[in-house]
């Protein structure tokens, strides 16, 4: 049977008067980086792909695990079984949803070294990540290069979101001058999360994204949106008193230490996960083919196009193309570095 043409694919969105055909064309011509493709990022990427945003860059350092499936809507059991990198798994599912969208999956860490490459050449950055170091890095990049970004966070039954338009709204550092130290804030792993909390926050981020991309930045909702789903309250906190703050280190004084790499960490314990991520210190990266060959002799090794996984000394190693490894079975960063040196060696 001949399939029906997809000509009215965006008709309902175009019929919404504030977008119209003109707004839809702007969405098609837009380029977005989604940083973190987990509970927030999968909903954001799915929504923007369905909305017809022309190009999505999906950045995530992690692999799909069983505990993700409860809320991370672009993944399935096969992804968890094979430990597929989240960026790749999300791209695969998005290609089935809307083939007209160009999706570029990038399974690596966003840090000071990679930010210039990974965040350049987009109209908007949308936050789906799970830590403040990365958000402060995005904030630095956004202000220096005048690219808008949208902050979102969710935990338990709560969440918050804020849109940052450089030069027009307060930035994240106006609100939080220094990021809470690693381990000081509850995480989804330690405090849990219900899917509707992350889905609502991601939907609010997506709505803000659609406004900006459709040329309606004027409609961006100002302030900090705060949600508590368990007692059914939401608030919008007015941040006008933080506008044009000359004392803000980022938007007032133009200091960008996360982007310059003087602040922020590169080797991290994945909080509450009983796992540590180790990044090779050599800036030029690793020889993947050689690494794969060397590691393929390990007993019980699994090889996929994206990673090599093996067990040694009772720990599970997942090694990625960029030489990065997630070592499961410990949260001790020093031990993880020495395990990396012993079993991966670069």
């Amino acid at each position: 049977m001949k399939s029906l043409p997809a000509i009215d694919r965006y008709s309902r969105q175009e019929r919404f008067a504030l977008i119209g055909k003109e707004g839809q064309e702007k969405l098609r011509a837009s380029r977005v980086a989604v940083c973190g493709v987990g509970a927030l990022g999968t909903v954001i990427a799915g929504t923007l792909a369905r909305a017809g945003v022309g190009y999505l860059r999906l950045i995530d350092r992690d692999i799909v695990e069983w505990s993700n499936l409860q809320r991370q809507i672009l993944f399935d059991e096969e992804d968890a079984r094979t430990g597929r990198p989240k960026a790749e798994a999300a791209a695969k599912h998005l290609s089935l949803i809307n083939k007209d969208v160009t999706v570029e999956p990038i399974a690596t860490e966003l840090n000071a070294r990679s930010a210039q490459d990974l965040l350049s050449n987009v109209d908007l950055i949308v936050d789906g990540c799970d830590n403040f170091d990365t958000r402060f890095l995005i904030n630095d990049f956004s202000l220096r290069h005048r690219v808008p970004w949208i902050y979102g966070g969710a935990i338990g039954a709560s969440g918050q979101s804020m849109t940052i338009l450089p030069g027009r709204t307060p930035c994240l550092r106006c609100l939080i001058e220094t990021p809470p130290p690693p381990g000081s804030l509850p995480t989804c792993e330690t405090a849990g999360i219900i899917a509707p909390a992350s889905m609502i926050i991601a939907s609010i981020e997506s709505a803000e994204a659609i406004k900006i991309l459709a040329g309606q930045s004027i409609a961006v909702t100002p302030g900090l949106f705060v949600l508590d789903l368990w007692n059914g309250t939401s608030k919008r906190i007015n941040l006008d008193s933080l506008k044009d703050n000359p004392h803000c280190p980022a938007c007032g004084r133009g200091e960008y230490p996360w982007l310059e790499g003087t602040l922020g960490s590169s080797t991290t314990s994945l909080c509450g996960r009983d796992a540590v991520q180790v990044i090779p210190s050599r800036a030029e990266g690793v020889d993947w083919e050689r690494l794969k060959r060397d590691l393929s002799i390990k007993p019980g090794v699994q090889l996929t196009p994206f990673l090599v996984r093996f067990e040694a000394e009772g720990f599970e190693f997942s090694v990625f193309r960029d030489g990065r490894a997630i070592i499961r079975g410990t949260d001790d960063v020093v031990l993880a570095r020495s395990l990396y040196a012993r079993h991966i060696g670069c």
Binding site: I176, P180, L185, A191, T233, I237, L242
Partner: protein, 82 residues
């Protein structure tokens, strides 16, 4: 003394086991005084309260802002998960 009802959010609310807390403070107390009093009342959440935003009448309030008798106050911790 003035009694304020402080709305709690996210982990602070969960750790307190209630949506709001009554806090009594001397007249002309500031946001900073309120933060200290909250930390004493909820010692388990002290570090989170220290990093939290205090909103007065649904607007961001810095530590030196003076509270008024009928101020509606909320304690909102940063949310990192995603």
């Amino acid at each position: 003394m003035t009694e304020y009802r402080v709305l709690l959010f996210a982990q602070i609310r969960e750790e307190a086991g209630q949506e709001s807390l009554p806090i009594a403070l001397p007249t002309n107390a500031t946001v900073s005084d309120l933060r200290k009093a909250l930390m004493e009342r909820l010692p388990k959440s002290a570090s989170l309260i220290c990093q939290s935003m205090i909103a007065v009448d649904e607007a961001y309030a810095s530590d030196n802002v003076c509270l008024k008798e009928k101020s509606r106050i909320a304690c909102i911790p940063p949310v990192s998960g995603g």
